[in-house]
Subunit: 145 residues, 2 copies
């Protein structure tokens, strides 16, 4: 059965001068969070933005997917550190996603790790949802012991 | 110039038994946040999930886009309340996004509001990034005075 996850935003006023509040997040794990156009297109000043939330979603999903794939290949990871950067260009939209992962994966060889990391980039559910982003890059490295 | 927004996830262990922490969020507005497979595919128990974060991103972006469009049409909104629900089906991925917006928009007529709401569904930057989601619905209504 599918799981549904919900969030609600209340926006007041215009795009440039107004502001929004993210609340009603079903899990209760976050919010209320302020969001504004300035926090999105200029400086955050402690406020989040749609792109930051997508970066968090993507890094979570990618980590799950790669963890599962590495375990399936007989080399479960001890630790994956995944950083995602999402770039927003006003007037154009979300123009780029950059995934960088550092894995601590006992017994894996380098080329297998790279192959699994690339597969997760293509196949993790958030990557498959975000197919409208024109450029997605991956930088995958193994942690040195 | 594009703005970059970053988040980092540290994942330890397997998909089913391991867990992740969302941190290193550039704005500092959120985190650390726990995320697990169970919080994604079963019950949240106070933990967030990739789909919940996408719902929050989408509701924010949609609100901004609709606010801007309504102002451009000469009927700026007083208030928009946007709820987004994202559905995750293990084994399939993100199968649906449901946008529900209630607008308080002085002077707008119903059909113009619906038209702008539909345009925002198609054209807001997060919608345009999430083109891999097979089904996206919209329920747009005007608040009664």
């Amino acid at each position: 059965m599918a799981t549904d996850r919900t969030a609600k935003v209340t926006w007041q006023g215009s795009l440039m001068d107004g502001s929004g509040t993210i609340e009603g997040v079903g899990s209760g794990a976050l919010g209320p969070l302020d969001v504004t156009w300035v926090s999105r297109a200029d400086t955050p000043d402690g406020r989040t933005s749609p792109e930051e939330l997508i970066a968090a979603a993507w890094a979570s999903c990618y980590s799950m997917s790669l963890s599962h794939a590495l375990a399936g290949a007989g080399t479960p990871p001890e630790r994956l550190e995944t950083q995602v950067t999402v770039s927003f260009q006003p007037g154009e939209g979300i123009v780029k996603g950059a995934i960088a992962v550092v894995g601590t994966v006992p017994g894996v060889d380098h080329s297998s790790f790279l192959a699994e990391a690339e597969t997760a980039k293509q196949n993790c559910p958030v990557s498959k949802a975000l197919t409208g982003i024109p450029e997605v890059t991956l930088d995958a490295t193994l942690a040195t012991a």
